[in-house]
Symmetry: C2
Subunit: 202 residues, 2 copies
């Protein structure tokens, strides 16, 4: 299942069709990710992104409408949503942890979840986007299992997974940052498993 | 406390002690917490804090040395360190969660842990301070139980507790922010309990 949400809606803009516009769009997004990551959301300007992409600022506005629109597109997590229905019940916690940790252990220079998280703590609009991401990545897969308490389970899972992301990839707290991935997965999987399966009083 | 006695305050010297210098110090810290919380670390200036406190900027420098020094003093968490040795083993996870959540559920406008966390995600010096706080609040109490794996257990506990703080008090993600405290404690305590007691392979 693949929900890449950076759909090229801007390609419908008059005069902006074809492969050239897709390349421009990609160049703007690459420049935006680099600039947002280096300067943070508040200090990033459309002008700086345009300069980095080697195009005119008006083009950035034409494609993305605003800085918030540009950030939304740049920070959209392209993590495929896990399909828990195909995983045996008792291994779902581990599957979910492994899914996100493997993504995060990759190259983090342009990691969009880290960018999103770092910005969300100081900007309410961006925090709302992170809420959407959590819904897509965690709450919807749990809801897809037919669980009536999906949203509460997903919220608890979110505290553990975002806390892990925060401590290991952003704050780089020790000894957490040095723990082997398998140790982390082994310790955190039972937490997620319990949030997925614990009895909930109505 | 009168915060506009600039001339009188200028007579204070750090280390001279006495009620007047203590009052000045407190006035600066109150102003610093309010200003850091409102503007964030990067946008806060010594000058702005001094103006808020009604004293000369040179006094702030005299008392705290630098903006980083001022932040360190302002954001120091005055949460008492939990004494886990007096808690029965099987209730320690719950005790630790309850201890921090009860603190966080208080008035958050000037909450120093929230301020510290928000700043730490974008500033390495402040992240190092948060590491110290985590050591004091979580790793040392666990180490005081004589556990040779205290630092690893504390690190895992930190991911869950900071993730909770992040999602509930900073990002205010739903439905997490609306869950009753007892529900939260009931769900998260077993996680902390397991991190405190799970078998660790050497």
């Amino acid at each position: 299942m693949d929900r890449h949400t950076t759909a090229a809606a801007a390609d419908d803009t008059p005069g902006a069709g074809g492969p050239r516009s897709a390349a421009t769009r990609r160049a703007i997004l690459d420049a935006a990710r680099a600039t947002f990551a280096a300067r943070g959301y508040e200090q990033t300007t459309i002008r700086a992104v345009a300069a980095q992409a080697g195009i005119d600022p008006s083009m950035v506005m034409r494609y993305f409408g605003s800085k918030a629109g540009l950030f939304a597109a740049a920070a959209t997590v392209d993590l495929p949503v896990p399909d828990l229905t195909s995983v045996p019940v008792r291994r779902r916690g581990e599957a979910l942890v492994r899914h996100v940790v493997q993504r995060w252990e990759g190259s983090l220079g342009d990691d969009s979840l880290v960018l999103l998280l770092r910005t969300a703590v100081t900007n309410d609009e961006v925090a709302a986007q992170l809420q959407n991401q959590m819904n897509q990545l965690v709450i919807e897969p749990v809801a897809a299992l037919g669980d009536p308490h999906a949203s509460r389970r997903g919220a608890l899972i979110g505290t553990q997974l975002l806390g892990l992301a925060l401590c290991r990839y952003i704050l780089r707290l020790e000894p957490l940052s040095s723990l082997p991935v398998e140790t982390l997965v082994g310790s955190i999987a039972p937490t997620i498993q319990r949030y997925l399966t614990e009895r909930v009083e109505d």
